[in-house]
Amino acid sequence: MTRLIAKRLLLGLLTLWLVATLVFAVSGALPGDAAASILGQDATAETLAALRAQMGLDDPLALRYAHWLGGILQGDFGLSLANGRPVAEVIGTRLPNSLLLAGLSTLVAIPVSLALGIASAMRPDSVFDRLTTFLSVLALSTPSFLIATLTVLVFSVWSGLLPALSNIDRAEGFGGTLRVMALPVLALSLSVIGQMARMTRAILIGALSEPYVETAILKGTSPLRAAILHALPNMAGPIVNASALSLNALISGVVFVEVIFAYPGLTKLMVDSVATRDLPVMQACALIFCAGFLILVLVADIVAILANPRLRSAG
């Protein structure tokens, strides 16, 4: 298994490099540059030229790419073109926020969706199953920004229970943090719970009709025990992999939550950096999202291997 992990890490690094190079190449095709974006309508030829020179935008793309790659290898992500601050510092203030949001949402989403999925699979076509299916499909097919706006209307504008804005810098103590995080986490979990519960149900129903489960039940095992101890471990691989794909959305697909709740996270930063043509920040964000995805998939594979005795002993 160590060999597998090492191989995966190596492939991951290669993927990161390819992604970074691709982002660099594509950004060259975007209209305008950081200098034009900062000066906007008020740009004059003279000020544009001066700003471009200050930012090093006059160098050919290949040279800038070489500089950037050289910097990265030494752990230097460069300076943000939008405000001149070190990229590491800009990212450093946003990344913990994104991780906190993703982490809390995962803690809510995984148990809830597994429980819903297993319960539905145990009694297919029951009233509970139909209700869960209905709500899951509703949550899945409602645009995320609408879910977020509705939660704000219900929980803060109408009832005043929770803050409408997630001002993490002003939250006091653990309780305060939970309070400001409540609505973003709710909005975000709702959108992935539906998907994960549906997948768990579908995968598990298939497994429950397998002969080995039937045998277990005929030998007197309770259906719940049969599902959790016999069927679930066999299906862990597909479920964990499918969940990893859903959870990835909690890191890179949350721009709507960050915009609606004014939550200072990474995706908003990335959208900003594209708008301002802030290439160093754009690159750093792309690398982080890519790395997050690779790590999730790797963890999913390791869990799948650990759950499968045949693979566990294989190496």
Binding site: G40, A49, Q54, V90, S156, V157, V259, A262
Partner: protein, 539 residues
Amino acid sequence: MRDSGRDPALAPRDMARLRQQMSRGATRRDVMRMLTASGMTIAAAGMLATRATRAHAAAPQRGGDLRVAGSSSSTSETLDPARFGKGTDYARGFMIYNGLTRLDGDLAPQPELATSWDSADGRVWVFKLRSGVTFHDGRPFTAEDAVWSVLRHNDPETASRARAYTGAIAEAVASGPLELTVTLSEPNYDLPVIFGTFNLMIVPAGTTDFSRGIGTGPYRLTEFEPGVRSVAVRNENYWKDGLQHVDTIEYFGLPDESSRLNALRAGEIHLTTGINPRSSKLIERDRGIELFVTRSGTFSDLYMQKTDATVGSEDFAAGIKALLPRDVIRSSIYRDFAEIGNDQPIAPSMKYFDDGLAPSGHDPEKAVYHLKKAGVMGQAIPLVASAGVGNTLDMALILQQAAQEAGLQIDVQRVPVDGYWSNVWMKRPFGFGTITQRPTADMIFSLCYKSDGPYNSSKWQDPKFDQLLLAARSERDETVRAQHYADMQALVRDGAGTAIPVFFSNIDAHSAALKGLEPIPTGNMMGYAFAENVWLDPA
């Protein structure tokens, strides 16, 4: 209160007169009579009388933490006045800096860090500066700071957004410890107005790192994270007395309009901006929040470049101008939070607006006559528009509909807003631009209609116009100057390839507890200078 939005209030001048009447003891009924006598409907007058009474009766309260949400957020937000480009920057600027002058509700320059100014010929200007003013770090404000703050715009390395206005400043020197002498390369009687604009706020001499936000302004910066938020606390050593009512101001951007309104309705912010006219009904229904409407000279223009073979002819421009259904644009897009324009850029709320100039009306027959002469009937004319540039896409669709009825086919080509200003605007022959209110007629004309103006979007060349512009700039006699500007308005309306259907109002929303806002047409939220003027009413 239904009419509070319908009518973008009175001109600041009229409002000031009203308030003066109130302070002399006029009752609400007197004001009602005064207003209805001038031809206003009873409902509108009632609302205004109420507002004037309330504004006068309320006494400022000290204390409280003000929270304000702007309509955009970006990591490119800055505290360097030369680079200010968005409302978020301007609002922060007015918290921490002062200008040499400030612009009032009539866009006239008032003393700020300069106490008085004079010029014999419009070329050499002497500004007397205020004594006893200190920066947030304790340094005293002197003429050297003024010189540095003014001259840095002329250094290309500063990459100043005010470069277009300050180019004529040939020299600025400290002619005394508290005296600034500015020499222009050509006379300009608007210099004191230019010194009151956002980009010309005063910073300490020699500043290169602006991240600490050291100024002379009413609030001291304690926290600033570009694209996230800023916090400022009252500057206890401020040189003005009796202002700065709130203790702290937290300011952040919320690009999504419905989040701004929800946060306001939930009581988490006190003031927000960039309200779509379509949301006005929702706000009027909610008792806890109010609209704040400022008449402005901001407009979106439809330009037709003179250099283009198809859309460049005089007949095409005349045809499109007659074709535009301005009242439909005003009522359906702007819900009447706009004033009909007549294809020249000086709004009715501005100084030098010529009300003798006949309005450009919707005249399909005249339009057909001109469009036939232009020889464009039967062709599909491409028009670029972006849903991200104001309401221009809606305007394009309304024009397309009107054109179809007249027998002209307009092919609306939608483009994304990303890169619009660098790649589409003024590069395609037939499209839309948006020009925000500028404080003087000279600035608008120089930018948008002078032959070599940087925003001359229709590529219009008229030597007579250019001459008049220079003559007006260096004319001291107000009557002659007004006549020059009236002539220019007529020239632009009839000659330039820009159709200006409406001037739209700036719409803000605030909690009922927030008091003290007065309209200043340079922008939303009191021309962004709300910081030292508003207070929170605990009642």
